[in-house]
Amino acid sequence: MTRFSIFTNRRGASPLALIAFVVIVCLLFAFPSLVESPYSRHIMVLLFLSTIMGESWNIIGGYTGQYSVGHAAYFGAGAYGTMIVMNASQFDADKLLELQDLAKDSRLSSLLLSAHDLHPWTGVLVGMVAALLLSLIIGSICFRLRGPYFVLASIAVAEIVRITVLNLADLTQGAEGILISTLPPLTIGNTVITDFSNNVPFYYIGLLLVLLTIFVTWLVQNSKLGYFFQAIREDQDAAHSLGISLTFHKNAALALSAVLTSLAGSFYAIYIKFVDPTTVLSLDLSVQIVLISIIGGIGTIFGPVVGALVLVPLSEVLRSNLIGESLISSGMVNSDSAFGHFLTENLSHAHVLIYGILVVVVILFMPDGVLGFFKSMVAKKRKEAA
């Protein structure tokens, strides 16, 4: 088996699946010209964002078996790196004077001054480097621990990052967050994107990032490095006795995962144009990242995609009460009836509850995630047929 052959994977050749994949990707590229609605594009962007987060976590959580519940730290690194540099590049003369004044006794302010000279989009790189450094620090602390201790340590480190960002207001603007009103032009190759006013550029950036993370995951799954990761997941001690360096490979997996997660954070930041510690560094976010993979199915290339496909539309439908609304507007339910009242008033409050129930149901009845569940269903059917 050639390791980098496109037409084979570990389980054997599946050209049909590959064709399906290519067709879907082509359709996705055509999507913005086929569908006019900005709202549906927005949902697609959220879908991409979730997929990127899920795929990135999957590398450390799914393939290497280290359940980090602190990925918000890397997401935040990307988001803040991008926003700080971008914001600094837009400082006006007054702000610069004020900063030069402050820079005498605040190192953070002088840091901001040097950020001003950077190209605005290099913030994405700054974010990646920050995430990389952070992952090495976190790795060196947390990888000495195993199992539940590792989970708790990863939460603790992420919380330290959150509170630090909250308190270093000179650099991060603390709880007030960073807001950017216009994005600077972005040059990719020969094309220059200046108009970010509709969400088409974000759609394509998101799609490319999704393909990138899927490609990286595929590489991981099919490379020697990836085999080592999976060996560690299956049995750390056995892997160690086979001569696989646990420290090196765990850290490598985390670093890779962290850098990709920081890209997701940068993507979020430029799309929303606002970051603050609660939205990009909270424990909630860390949990959400883990959920995407686990609901979909961890340790598989398309698990996180499935997870995002389940969670994003679901949370949107529940949040905006689309079911209740459409039942009423289609005339099936009278809005003044008790049931209609229940749909409009109560159900709109219950979406997180439904979300919680879904999580419990999936964990109890589909422990390998939605993808795993369907795979085993198919396998069962085949067996029966045979």
């Binding site: 609605s37 900005p38 709202y39 308190n167 007030e176 006013s197 603050d276 609660t278 949107e316 979406h351």
Partner: protein
């Protein structure tokens, strides 16, 4: 022309049943679930009452409620949906500063008029957005009005700040510090705390040893009660406790008679202020929901009334509604409302904030003089 419109409006108000022939679609983005939900509920209730009153005036609002759970990206989803899928005439909300901030840039992009009822972050109306209107006073007024009130009775020398490390806390204290410096009041302590902490005793003890004249606090909801309870425990006794809005203006705070007495707070709205319908709103709200409205409820109520009336008058046309908001003038439970450009703000209602003090278990408006019902009691004692 405007006079005719006003006359027509007056006529419809006077003769119930005369319809403006309007069914108008309005979006309402609010925080219904999540950590900010307790305040969000006040806004929901305020809007519910606004819809009833609008119906009486012949304006039938088709309200599309969206929950943003307090997260900007969800708020953005809600706005995109309202603007492009539901084709609303205008949007009221979101509640939190972070969400309102994120959505404001989209309002201009989709050319959908937006009235922000209660978010305090100054920047929101400082970016020159044409379609974004804000009813409530921004963060800087929360602190200045309080200090102005104290300056009428005393010349305090020192001040200590205790505040939540949140957007609202930080931006309010930032402007408070500038204003205090201008008035020559010296800062002796600056204590940020993480929202929801159960124990402030050592922070308060530290402040007690510094003996400040004023203790200035910015706290959400119930942190205010925790802070005052523990201040009483350790007998922190400045000349005045100043609470900037939020947690110091709730009915629950008032109900804690042992600790709320004589505390000053700044607020967007009080029931006893002589703005038309304020008292009536308070009574009806209390009867309907079984609790007192916070200023958020009043803000949301008035924001919805203004948005729906303007949209209905303009047949749901977004551009005309925007023009109507820009040129219009209202006088309701929030006093006189006019969206104007001043001091770097665009479409900002220069809303006069009020200072209230708890006296004998009631909130009494004590400043500015023209709205005051009682004189301030000073200095503070337990």
């Amino acid at each position: 022309m405007k006079k005719i419109a006003l006359a027509a409006l007056a006529l419809t108000l006077a003769v119930p049943g005369v319809s403006l022939a309007a069914k108008v679609k309005i979006g309402f983005i609010n925080t219904i679930t999540g950590a900010e939900a307790p305040i969000g509920e006040n806004l929901t209730n305020g809007v519910t009452m606004a819809l009833e009153d609008l119906k009486k005036k012949g304006i039938d609002v088709e309200l599309i409620k969206e929950d943003d759970t307090g997260k900007p990206e969800k708020s953005l989803s809600a706005f995109e949906k309202l603007a492009t899928r539901d084709n609303v005439a205008g949007v009221v909300g979101p509640y939190t500063s972070a969400c309102a901030n994120a959505v404001a840039s989209q309002a201009d992009r989709y050319k959908v008029p937006q009235v922000i009822p209660a978010a305090a972050k100054e920047e929101i109306t400082r970016k020159g957005y044409k379609y974004v209107f804000r009813l409530n006073a921004p963060a800087d007024v929360y602190s200045s009005v309080l200090m102005d009130a104290i300056m009428t009775v005393d010349k305090p020398k020192t001040i200590a700040y205790v505040y939540a490390n949140t957007d609202f806390g930080i931006s309010t204290v930032k402007t408070a510090k500038e204003y205090a410096r201008k008035l020559g009041i010296r800062e002796v302590a600056d204590e940020k705390y993480l929202k929801g902490a159960p124990d402030f005793r050592s922070t308060l003890t530290k402040i007690k040893t510094l003996k400040p004249d004023l203790v200035f606090m910015v706290s959400y909801e119930v942190d205010a009660i925790t802070l005052m309870r523990q201040s009483r425990e350790i007998r922190l006794t400045p000349k005045a406790f100043l609470g900037a809005g939020a947690g110091f203006t709730t009915a629950q705070f008032l109900a804690q008679k042992m600790i709320s007495n004589l505390v000053f707070s700044s607020t967007q709205w009080t029931e006893d202020v002589n703005w038309p319908g304020a008292r009536n709103f308070y009574n009806r709200y209390k009867a309907k929901f079984g609790k007192e409205p916070s200023y958020h409820a009043a803000c949301a109520y008035e924001a919805m009334i203004i948005m729906a009336e303007t949209a209905a008058k303009n047949g749901g046309n977004r551009e005309k509604t925007r023009a109507g908001l820009k040129s219009g003038q209202w006088n309701g439970i929030m006093g006189e409302v006019k969206f104007s450009d001043y001091a770097g703000y665009t479409n900002q209602n220069n809303h006069p904030m009020l200072v209230q003090q708890v006296q004998n278990g009631r909130y009494e408006t004590v400043y500015p003089a023209k709205f005051a019902t009682k004189n301030p009691i000073y200095p503070f004692k337990w």
